[in-house]
Symmetry: C2
Subunit: 144 residues, 2 copies
Amino acid sequence: MSETARREHTLASRLRLSTVRLNRRLRAQSADSTITLSQLSALFALVQGGAMTPGELAAKEGVQPPSMTRVIAALEDAGLVVRRAHPSDGRQAIVEATEAGYARADEEVTARERWLDSRLAELTPDEHEVLMRATGIINRIAGS
Amino acid sequence: MSETARREHTLASRLRLSTVRLNRRLRAQSADSTITLSQLSALFALVQGGAMTPGELAAKEGVQPPSMTRVIAALEDAGLVVRRAHPSDGRQAIVEATEAGYARADEEVTARERWLDSRLAELTPDEHEVLMRATGIINRIAGS
DNA sequence: TATTGTTATACTCTATAACTATA
DNA sequence: TATAGTTATAGAGTATAACAATA
């Protein structure tokens, strides 16, 4: 292994471990809620991006269509989104957040992401900036 | 929501999404291997940190003991680690990477984390530095 | 009694393959 | 035929609760 490769690998190991750990912590915050992390993420995407098809939503969240099907079904069961017929293409559907969905997204922001929000509030402006830049780099790496 | 809170929350959303995405990509790389991401991570910890008890390993990886039990069992089945009796405490065990485990860890580095390594190799030194700092901040947030 | 570890059980998240309906 | 979406199935990853063995 070359020196450069070893240096890259040190970062790879660190990045892998910190990613896995934060992911775990984020999911752990879900414990006392009826909505899961994936569902919350999709709901946010709909609230912020407006109505869209399941395929568009899957692409936006970076998952395969079958995975999104289940997420949408759960949100629909909870009354947080509705499915409408596409005006010109019978194969497609339009998924949209309901009024309850918008309200729920607001609640979750204040109640559920409080853990991460408050951790981030403890950071210095400099550290804040590092994380903002890091998310951009990571998204590029992950091909979003 | 205050201005500060909104700014924090923007970062929270970005960080959450990029974390979930990278985690997904990292796991996807496992597809053609017989060893999973969790197992690889634990094996690395043993190779780098030397023999330790299941409890220590669970703490190091930030998972609960029952989760680590399964990971160790899988690694043991694959012949990559062995379990020895603790010299002075019959309740505990010592888990240690075998020669095959060390060899496998090396192979996985070159074969399996190549995806992440090569992505990271495309970064500028500055971006590299940002990610190094970010992993430190994230680990602090995640309480490792 | 307290600690270490395992077993039992269950849930989230995600994927691929196969299928249906529409274009 | 091609595309959008769903259903079926399976596996990774993790947790909590209950238990066994040892200190």
